[in-house]
């Protein structure tokens, strides 16, 4: 029984390490910023996830107590990874705004980052109020 548990945990750790390595290699190999963003947001999430599952299993089987910290780490990771990727992508779009050919929005307004500062960007934030026009009193 112990041998099986140890084998599973080791396999998880090795697989996680491989995925972490692939993610880092992707950073080196892919050609530009936007494609490079794909490698760390994805290939590493399984890398970290594998380590966390292995850690949970280890503490559960060998220490006899269930550790919940790993679930929290996973949650925080899944919350922060898309936001980081989004910010890097936007910074990149601004820096190379002349070279990058963006597709049309398909609607009347442009992409939110390139909108004029004075334009009201609607995050469709309001259901209760009719028009999402924040006045000074709202802040």
């Amino acid at each position: 029984m112990e041998l099986i548990a140890e084998t599973i945990i080791s396999l998880l750790l090795v697989a996680a390490g491989v995925f972490g390595l692939v993610g880092s290699f992707g950073l080196l190999k892919l050609p530009d910023t936007m494609t490079r963003l794909h490698a760390p947001t994805k290939a590493t999430s399984l890398g970290v996830g594998g380590v966390l599952i292995a850690s949970m299993l280890y503490f559960w089987i060998f220490q006899g107590k269930l550790s919940w910290h790993e679930l929290l780490i996973t949650m925080f990771l899944f919350l922060t990874a898309p936001i980081t990727a989004n910010l890097i992508a936007k910074a990149h779009m601004h820096r190379y705004s002349k070279q990058i050919k963006l597709p049309d929005t398909g609607t009347d307004s442009g992409w939110a980052t390139f909108e004029d500062e004075t334009t009201e960007v609607h995050p469709v934030m309001t259901r209760t109020r009719a028009a999402p026009a924040p006045t000074k009193a709202d802040h």
């Binding site: 692939v22 490698a39 989004n86 597709p103 929005t105 334009t119 995050p123 469709v124 934030m125």
Partner: protein
């Protein structure tokens, strides 16, 4: 009254669970402190989040989370395969526009996050009126298929949860 004290009940619940997971033990003291935090933090942040999101179908969230977790694992293998075995010259990277029917900001945020975490796609921006998303694809020989899959697989489910 109750609504004033707990402007975001789901946030309160989430904070309580998070705090209990953080201290890693279920004792009365930590539960009370979790409740205090769960009351104060939503109260302080309420002005930045004026509307309470409507969860029409909370039970569907579990199914959604399972599907997204499965897709994340799958996308790890796909992206790893692309990184390791596909020469850069064969990569077909494209930008695509996805028109979205979701209207609540919470639902759009979840959709954008999901797209970033799943196979070879990454949300870069939203249009100014919140009616379409800008997606970057790592390798998409058929951009229309990607768009249809996102709309059918994620957006339809989010629609059932949120709107």
């Amino acid at each position: 009254m109750l609504r004033k004290l707990f402007p975001h009940p789901y946030l309160t619940l989430l904070l309580v669970i998070t705090w209990i997971l953080l201290v890693n033990q279920l004792k009365l003291g930590s539960l009370i402190f979790a409740l205090i935090l769960g009351t104060i933090i939503p109260l302080i942040t309420a002005p930045y989040w004026p509307d309470r999101p409507i969860l029409r179908n909370p039970r569907a969230i579990v199914g959604y989370i399972l599907i997204v977790l499965y897709d994340i694992v799958k996308s790890n293998f796909i992206v790893a395969g692309i990184v390791l075995f596909k020469p850069n010259s064969q990569l077909k990277t494209t930008w695509i526009t996805i028109p979205i029917d979701l209207r609540t900001p919470e639902a759009i945020t979840v959709l954008a996050g999901t797209i970033t975490m799943t196979p070879g796609t990454l949300t870069a921006d939203m249009s100014g009126d919140g009616k379409s998303l800008l997606i970057h694809c790592l390798h998409a020989p058929d951009p229309d298929a990607v768009r249809d899959e996102i709309k059918a697989r994620y957006e339809a489910r989010l629609m059932r949860i949120f709107e």
